[in-house]
Amino acid sequence: MSEMDRDDELDRMLVRSFGPPHAHAAHAESIEPSSGFAASVMERVREEAAAAAALGPIRFPWRRAVPGICMVVLAVAVCATLLVLASIGAVRLASHAAFSATAAGPQAAIAGWAETAMRLHLGWLAIGMMIAFVPFTLSRGWMGGRQRT
């Protein structure tokens, strides 16, 4: 018996056991709903529809939500202010370094840029981003592997 014949036979057996009910109507594993099934489903649907109608639309819990919303707005405002202040400082340092570069040649320019980077803690920022990037990449790789298999 060839491999293809074996696959066909396996398919036939699996269709008999797991195929849709109309494919093999005479097969013992195909079952019909019990006589009261549809009525019982509709009864529960009606109950749930009536319960939902009695409750009415669910009100938004403003009393509980307001403190949280205030905290979020405050946090966003603080972050935005810090970001604006940091940007202004960075622009000032960068323009100072650019002025020094044009005035004193390429070596001074490199030193100026390095000083600017150190003052802005760009090195720490880069290390922090790399540290964050490694687990992110690894977890994505693992999740991708799990999805494919």
Binding site: M1, M13, F18, G19, P20, V45
Partner: protein, 192 residues
């Protein structure tokens, strides 16, 4: 084909009526889909009573979720995906009673598989072997054969890419072939 189109049109009409607030229109959906949904549940759990409970829960979820159904996919696709998702989580919550794949019985005397009732025994052995597969292979196989060997339909029901479903089917078949070598070597034609 005409029957399928008629069924799809009836589904669209009933869905629109339910979405407009007519609860009784849901009865038409239940009537048309009760047999497929109960049989799908039965293929997952192998227990008639539990299959009806699971199908009832699927219909209730469908009723609640109908507001969110926008008709992007066929209603049947949406309903099967919802039911499959529910059945899978139900079985994770309360697993069906199965034997381990290595313990799934193969008929002791394959040469005796000639008569009609023995064909049923053989199907039973295959059924037990499939139900003993690891869930991800079992679910792919159940849905593939339930949807008449239609990979895209099985993939939509499972919410997985077609390639993933194909890979799981391939691996599932390999496991079955390794479990049931004598059974597959001995077809009714082979022994006659």
């Amino acid at each position: 084909m005409d029957a399928e189109l008629g069924k799809a049109a009836a589904d669209r009409a009933d869905v629109a009526r339910v979405q407009a607030g007519d609860v009784e229109a849901f009865a038409g959906i239940v009537r048309r889909w009760q047999t497929p949904l109960i049989n799908l549940a039965y293929r997952f759990c192998g227990d008639r009573g539990r299959a009806e409970e699971m199908a009832q829960e699927a219909f209730l979820r469908a009723y609640h979720g109908l507001d969110g159904y926008r008709g992007d996919a066929a209603f049947s696709t949406w309903l099967f995906a919802l039911a499959t998702n529910l059945y899978r989580s139900e079985l994770r919550r309360i697993p069906q009673r199965t034997v381990a794949l290595d313990e799934a019985p193969e008929p002791s005397d394959p040469a005796s598989i000639i008569e009609a009732h023995e064909l049923r025994d053989r199907d039973l052995a295959v059924r037990k072997a499939v139900l003993a597969l690891p869930p991800k292979y079992r679910e792919a196989m159940l849905l593939f054969y339930f949807h008449e060997m239609d990979v895209p339909a099985a993939a939509q029901s499972l919410g997985l890419p077609e390639g993933t479903v194909k890979a799981r089917l391939h691996r599932g078949r390999e496991l079955l072939r390794s479990k049931l070598p004598r059974l597959l070597a001995l077809t009714p034609e082979g022994v006659m």
